[in-house]
């Protein structure tokens, strides 16, 4: 083994690292299999002390550190680079996975960063609490990865962004110093709030080791409504109506367009349960208080507000909740069964979504009428997953060739409609050019300066976010 590696692992237990090629390659390729880098070793630190020890040595020897959670990043953020001149190591947090403390009185939970999101959800559910984050990859992703990529998901609409729910953070910085800001308080106006910089920094400023996060009371009952609309304006108008009437009892409002629905039906063998239409929406409402006939009143409200309620289903049980959610959550899985697909995760202000969709769809279909859009996502948060595929597999080559033209159409339209080119998946390796192009030069310059201050040797996830 390389001398530097021997030095790195000196203080580690045998089960805290692996340089078997199979382990390394599993950890070096991203979820979508678009980025495949090479690392020399994967380290699974069991304690913060061990991590500090490794990072100090990396800083000293200028070894690149790739922080990794569940490796579900969709922008190539969690894997090593393909052609790096520096030695690259992966630090995976899966062994730093203790639930430290649930404080039921102040509604907060302290957890280590390697805790799997779904494990946290189950832990809390047993104690009648609810975690304010839920995303499709919950069975794999880790809270440290969620914080570093500032994950969004299906219930931002109710609980706010993850950032707004993080009370405290702990992290190991590039020089091995330990940053701790875990005060269990809501208010703390004492100068610059450094933890805010770490949230969403994609592993480029520090390695998150623990967090203190707000939790919420578990709803008494949750129901899912699944329905169709023939046009996006009606769907958005209906969203506004529910929002006004039920505001924070609305726990999700998701969009699924016709192509996305057909894909799930085909690729995942799901039954068609609603008449074919242009748009579908999945609405989740929750009862938190002891309102009598809460859902009865909601049914009345839906019936009165909808022009055509024929194709609306109300779930009767939690089993049906799960079955209905499948139609939304299986879309990314169904997409992986496509030969080729161009992925986008964008946000557009609510009042511009309809104009954006119409304009962009038209421009893309002009390139080839086989190029269609799988459009789904957390429309309540103005967030669209906007992916282009070809209905004819023979045109996949052409789609690949046209990728940059298509991306340009999308990004220009996003920018002109006042949106963001990456709503929740982040920048990673995939959106480096767009960051440079669509953020102001002032912002980019300040970001670079911040990176220099926190990580002067550029060892933490180098060449992610921007080329260093």
């Amino acid at each position: 083994m390389n001398e530097q590696l021997t030095y790195l692992i000196q203080n580690l237990d045998q089960n805290e690292y692996s340089y078997e090629s199979e382990v390394i390659s599993n950890h070096s390729i991203d979820w979508r299999k678009n980025f495949n880098g090479n690392a020399s070793i994967v380290i699974f630190p069991k304690s913060v002390d061990k991590l500090v020890n490794v990072i100090k040595k990396c800083n000293e020897k200028k070894i690149s550190v790739i922080p990794q959670g569940g490796n579900t990043s969709l922008v190539g953020g969690s894997v090593p680079l393909e052609n790096s001149k520096m030695l690259q190591i992966i630090i995976n947090f899966k062994k730093l996975n203790k639930i430290i403390n649930l404080d039921p009185n102040s509604f907060s939970i302290q957890i280590e960063s390697g805790c799997i999101l779904e494990d946290i959800q189950h832990f809390l559910s047993k104690k009648n609490f609810y975690f304010p984050l839920s995303i499709g990859s919950r069975g794999n992703c880790q809270i440290g990865g969620n914080i570093s990529s500032h994950a969004g998901g299906t219930n931002v609409i109710k609980y706010g962004t993850l950032r707004s729910n993080i009370l405290g953070l702990e992290a190991v910085m590039a020089d091995g110093s330990f940053f701790s800001s875990m005060k269990n308080v809501r208010k703390d106006n004492t100068g610059y709030d450094l933890k805010q910089l770490l949230i969403g920094s994609e592993g480029t400023l520090g390695l998150i080791t623990a967090a203190n996060i707000r939790v919420f009371p578990k709803p008494l009952e949750t129901r899912v409504v699944f329905g169709t609309f023939s046009n996006i304006e009606d769907l958005l108008n209906f969203y506004s109506k529910i929002r006004i009437n039920y505001h924070d009892l609305l726990t999700s409002f998701e969009l699924v367009n016709s192509e996305a629905m057909e894909l799930v039906i085909q690729k995942n063998n799901k039954k068609r349960i609603l008449k074919k239409n242009n748009f579908y929406c999945l609405i989740e409402l929750s009862n938190f208080t002891h309102n009598v006939d809460f859902f009865g009143k909601i049914e009345d409200f839906f019936f009165e507000s909808l022009e055509d309620s024929e194709d609306f289903i109300f779930s009767k049980s939690y089993e049906e909740n799960k079955q209905l959610w499948d139609y939304r959550e299986l879309i990314p899985i169904a997409e992986t069964k496509l030969e080729f697909c161009i992925n986008h995760d964008i946000s557009i202000p609510l009042d511009k979504i309809s104009s954006f969709i119409k304009k962009t769809e038209k421009e893309i279909s002009l390139i080839d009428k086989c190029f269609r859009i799988i459009n789904f996502g957390h429309i309540g948060d103005n967030n669209l997953h906007y992916n282009i595929f070809s209905t004819d597999d023979k045109k996949n080559e052409k789609l690949k060739q046209k990728q940059s033209v298509i991306n340009k159409i999308i990004f220009e339209n996003v920018s002109n409609h006042g949106g963001s080119f990456s709503a929740e998946h982040g920048v990673g390796q995939l959106r480096i050019d767009e960051l440079k192009r669509y953020k102001t030069s002032f912002e980019v310059e300040q970001m670079r300066k911040i990176k220099k201050i926190f990580d002067p040797n550029n060892i933490l996830n180098p060449n992610k976010l921007f080329k260093n």
């Binding site: 089960n15 559910s125 047993k126 008494l220 009952e221 949750t222 409504v225 699944f226 329905g227 349960i273 009865g296 049914e299 009345d300 839906f302 019936f303 909808l306 309620s309 024929e310 194709d311 609306f312 289903i313 109300f314 779930s315 009767k316 049980s317 939690y318 089993e319 049906e320 909740n321 799960k322």
Partner: protein, 250 residues
């Protein structure tokens, strides 16, 4: 032809059950309740029969508290025509449930009674059979397929190691198994229609039945907690543990 479909309000299948601190039962306060999944299958089967023209009326019956009306409404939203709620605040054991249903059978005279083979709360799997005895009706339990054949029903039953098809005369009781059908979702217009449908309320006391419990619950306990798995380093350690701890090798 008229069908009586029996539905029970139970703790939702997906809710993690918690035993009460005093061990007298399970926690039902603030817990999501739904229709017993086997009963949902029973409603679906009746609605299908009605769609095929075999039935012309579906009566949905539940025995329970005021809130069981919600469960009946679910059945009506799936396609039931009217409901009957027999009100009681006590937990009836299967024999008593069968006795109560028998009174409704006397009153309604349905040609066919469809119900779940069991309820997922106590898993008794007794009511259908007991009711058949009390009312002296033919019975086809654990149905996975039901077909009308002249004046009879051919019912395929799930039995140990295979399937058995029997023919039953009317009036009869059919208890449903999981594979019989896939219950439909309730559409909003049907939910709204269900709100207008009649639910007759009858007090359980009005039957003059002796509903004393013969069964006494002494204590309810959680199942023993499963020990977490362990990771072994290599095959040797695995074989060692299989011998020394699991004792499946010698």
């Amino acid at each position: 032809m008229k069908a009586l479909v029996c539905v029970k309000r139970v703790i939702d299948y997906n809710v993690k059950i918690r035993v009460k601190a005093d061990k007298t039962g399970v926690e039902t306060e603030n817990v999501k309740m739904s229709m017993n999944p086997f009963d949902e299958i029973a409603v679906e089967e009746a609605v299908k029969m009605k769609e095929k023209g075999i039935l012309n009326e579906i009566v949905v019956l539940s025995i329970g508290s005021e809130s069981s009306q919600e469960t009946i409404r679910s059945g009506l939203a799936m396609g039931g025509d009217r409901g009957i709620l027999v009100k009681t605040t006590s937990d009836l054991e299967p024999l008593n449930v069968a006795k109560v249903i028998s009174k409704i059978v006397e009153k309604e005279k349905p040609e066919i009674i469809i119900m779940g083979k069991q309820a997922i709360d106590d898993d008794s799997n007794q009511t259908g059979q007991m009711l058949a005895q009390i009312c002296n009706l033919s019975q086809a339990t654990f149905a996975s397929k039901v077909e009308k054949n002249g004046e009879k029903f051919d019912v395929t039953r799930e039995i140990d190691g295979g399937l058995e098809t029997i023919s039953v005369e009317l009036p009869c009781i059919i208890t449903t198994d999981l594979r019989l059908n896939e219950p439909r979702y309730a559409s909003l217009p049907n939910i709204m229609k269900a709100k207008q449908k009649k639910i007759e309320q009858i007090d359980v006391g009005s039957f003059g039945l002796n509903l004393e419990s013969r069964l006494e619950i002494i204590e309810v306990n959680d199942p023993p907690e499963r020990k977490p798995g362990i990771m072994v380093q290599d095959v040797e350690e695995l074989i060692g543990k299989l011998k020394s701890e699991a004792k499946v090798l010698s």
